[in-house]
């Protein structure tokens, strides 16, 4: 046991001290945060870019008041101006672009053009499209000569936004967001894939390094091959866990900073505070909060809602299952990788063995991505049970909610399988590391597996 700990320590220390490890560990969460924060900041600051747009209608004035000015843009209705004349001068006149509406628009939907030097933002296009669509609808309805049409229209106008509330077994409810669950499923599944793959192949490279440099001969004259293999696998697992824990810690820290700085502006902390209260009072408070939010800034309110919904995810369960599936999934794959590493003489020879091992991992990733669309599908269910794919698929399913019995069965299968794989790999490894200059096949490895001495 003491010798294994010496090996674990070496495997751990040599990797943790590498510059690449330190850089990756610090940079990854910063990049991740940047991916989330930058679009938010951009979104929040977008309104400041004010645009003036010239509207030209060719020969009619159906849409004279159809485009009310907004905070982002002013719509100036120009009479008696030809598009071709304005095309050359609109910029000097201070316009962002020209909106040209042809009279055929009621029957030909694409008879509208927005002419500008830059690609106009989606929000602007959406706004124009919606407004004009409404106006055209109104015009068409007018043709039916319905009495009091304006009043009726005002009456039927509704605006809805679905609020999703998930109720757990204890009757507690939380505001959730399918969007957040999808993001978590994506990040979780992908992270698991990356970690298992990166650290699994590190094990393989380590084994090959020891074999080609013949260090292994010196070591196995001091310790048992199994001890060397386990020491290496555990050492590298600890490296992975260290990295993961630092990532979690940094992410929490960054999230905390976002919470206390950006969101403070919106004065919306009540939303997060009410998160765990019961259904009734939450609905009331949320209503109050959203009224307040509407007064402040709709985008920020939206962001804050997403953020509070993210906070409401079962983080404890997610992190604990992630660690469990990382450890077992990694042990499963790392032991296969170790066996492969022991069977070859150099890295290029690993190709033929890598393919059958890579297929289940990539399959798992693909199923996990599909899980985001349909977490209850039977494919997702079975793949989250089968140990070769379950670490990635199950992690992708958890944010959507997984019954505990499924989690338990999947975990139990995982434990049994990884133990079996470690045991078999150790047998292959023991023979493989001392074999040189021989092209190994699966058949050969199968034979080693059955060697007794």
């Amino acid at each position: 046991m003491n010798k294994i700990s010496v090996i674990i320590k070496r495997e751990y220390m040599t990797r943790v001290r590498k510059k690449s490890f330190i850089i990756m560990t610090i940079l990854a969460p910063v990049l991740m945060a940047a991916i989330i924060i930058v679009p938010t900041v951009v979104m929040l600051n977008q309104g400041q870019d004010f645009k003036k747009i010239a509207v030209i209608e060719d020969g009619s004035d159906l849409f004279r008041n159809a485009l009310p000015n907004t905070k982002e843009a002013e719509y100036v209705y120009l009479d008696n101006v030809k598009v071709n004349d304005l095309k050359n001068t609109y910029e000097q006149a201070g316009y962002y672009g020209i909106l040209y509406i042809s009279p055929e628009v009621i029957s030909v939907p694409n008879a509208i053009q927005l002419i500008s030097k830059q690609q106009p933002p989606i929000g602007l296009l959406d706004y124009i499209e919606n407004s004009l669509e409404k106006e055209i609808e109104r015009q068409k309805l007018l043709a039916y000569n319905i009495e009091n049409l304006d009043e009726i229209m005002k009456n039927v106008e509704t605006n809805i936004s679905i609020q999703t509330i998930k109720i757990d077994e204890t009757g507690q409810s939380k505001e959730t967001s399918t969007g957040i669950a999808m993001v978590l499923a994506y990040i979780g599944g992908f992270l698991m894939y990356m970690l298992v793959f990166i650290f699994g192949s590190q094990v393989m490279r380590g084994v090959i390094e020891e074999k080609t440099s013949r260090v292994v001969e010196v070591i196995v004259s001091s310790v048992k091959p199994v001890e060397l293999m386990l020491g290496k696998i555990i050492g590298i697992a600890l490296v992975g866990l260290t990295q993961f824990m630092i990532w979690v810690f940094l992410t929490v820290a960054i999230a905390g900073i976002i919470n206390s700085t950006i969101l403070k502006k919106a004065n919306l902390t009540e939303v997060t505070q009410t998160a765990t209260q019961n259904l009734m009072s939450e609905q009331q408070q949320a209503a109050v909060a959203s009224v307040q939010a509407a007064d402040v800034n709709p985008e920020l309110a939206e962001f804050s809602k997403l953020f509070s919904s993210a906070m409401n995810q079962p983080w404890g369960l997610i992190i604990i299952s992630f660690i469990f599936y990382f450890i077992t999934g990694y042990l499963l794959y790392a032991s296969i990788f170790a066996a492969i590493g022991s069977a070859v003489d150099n890295e290029t020879e690993t190709q033929q063995f890598m393919l059958p091992v890579t297929i289940p991992i990539i399959l798992a990733l693909m199923v996990a991505m599909g899980t985001m669309q349909n977490p209850e599908s039977s494919l997702a269910f079975w793949c989250s049970m089968i140990p070769l794919t379950s670490p990635i698929v199950m992690i992708a399913r958890i944010p959507f909610g997984v019954p505990y019995w499924q989690l338990a069965v999947s975990m139990a299968l995982m434990i049994v399988t990884f133990a079996a794989f470690v045991w078999m790999s150790a047998k292959v490894y023991r023979t493989g590391i001392l074999m040189y200059g021989k092209k190994t096949s699966w058949k050969e490895m199968w034979k080693w597996l059955r060697y007794s001495g």
Binding site: S213, R214, E217, G453
Partner: protein, 302 residues
């Protein structure tokens, strides 16, 4: 008394027999040569002694007791292909291997300092192995092998990669280790060093022992009543019924003869004959070199 003994060790790999009832007995505080052509089974035997692999049948004894897994701490092994982590620093690496052999950190540091100083490599402590020359790496590996002061040392081709000066340093260290009580198994193709260092040898060919015994006995056994004679003079030594001239060369005015005598000859008779032809400079029984014996034995078996 034999410090180490292997009795009827047999090892079968999938397609070939690596060792066929090989036995060796290594007397305490001696240097034992393990010889044989490539692929004869030497490495397999060494791996079995190191308990890296197990024999199919046969028994191994250390100090008269059956070899146990814990005995690895009593054995030091310098493999033919040197194995060091290239990216690791020399000092750290030496310490790591010492810890794997069961030394405490404190004790390992103390001994490492002593050995690094003795072999004059203290300056390399903080360097990475890949920065060292092959000979330097060999020195580090040598220290790693002997550091835990094992009773039994196994050196597989210890001199390859060394320049003559450093080879001599290592040779003296090996002799010094024996003096201090270590028993050494020494595998090599360099027959010159066998004659110089080994007390006993075993020659393995195609998985079987084909020659064993003390180096002196073997050389005398294989001596074929031949003598080397060097004379400074004008006359010519002629063969007669008692001995014949196998070859004659002249070098710097001296004549060098290789004579073959009849088995029961009185060597003084040869000298009496020779003395008439000039001044005798030397007269020696021509013992065959281990190299010759090696080649002759192996070839006669093939």
């Amino acid at each position: 008394m034999a410090l180490f003994e292997a009795k009827d060790v047999t090892k079968q790999y999938a397609t070939q027999l690596a060792l066929d009832k090989v036995s060796i007995a290594v007397p305490e505080q001696s240097i034992y040569g393990l010889l044989g052509p490539n692929g004869a089974g030497k490495t397999t035997l060494i791996r079995i002694i190191n308990q890296i692999t197990g024999p199919d049948s046969g028994e191994l004894f250390l100090n008269g007791k059956k070899l146990k897994p814990e005995d690895v701490t009593l054995i030091g092994y310098l493999p033919e292909e040197r194995g060091l982590y290239k990216k690791m620093k020399v000092g750290e690496q030496a310490l790591y291997f010492a810890r794997l052999k069961g030394l405490s950190k404190h004790e390992a540091m103390k001994r490492l300092k002593y050995w690094f100083k003795k072999l004059e490599i203290t300056d390399w402590w903080g360097k990475k192995v890949e920065e060292l020359s092959k000979g330097m790496q060999q020195k580090v590996q040598f220290i790693i092998t002997v550091l835990h002061e094992p009773k039994l040392l196994i050196f597989d081709e210890p001199f390859t990669g060394f320049d003559p000066v450093n080879a001599n340093i290592i040779k003296n260290e090996i002799l010094f280790l024996r003096e201090r009580g270590a028993t050494i198994i020494f595998s090599t193709h360099n027959m010159g060093s066998v004659e110089e260092l080994c007390d006993n040898i075993t020659l393995i060919n195609k998985a079987k022992t084909i020659l064993e015994g003390s180096v002196n006995d073997i050389r005398n056994q294989w001596a074929a009543n031949e003598y080397d004679l060097v004379i400074d003079g004008d006359g010519k030594v002629e063969g007669n019924g008692q001995f014949s001239i196998l070859s004659r060369q002249t070098e710097k005015g001296k004549d060098i003869y290789r004579l073959k005598a009849s088995p029961d000859i009185d060597t003084n008779y040869i000298l009496n004959t020779a003395i008439r032809s000039g001044r005798i400079i030397s007269f020696n029984p021509a013992l065959p070199s281990m190299n010759e014996i090696f080649i002759r034995v192996v070839e006669s078996r093939n």
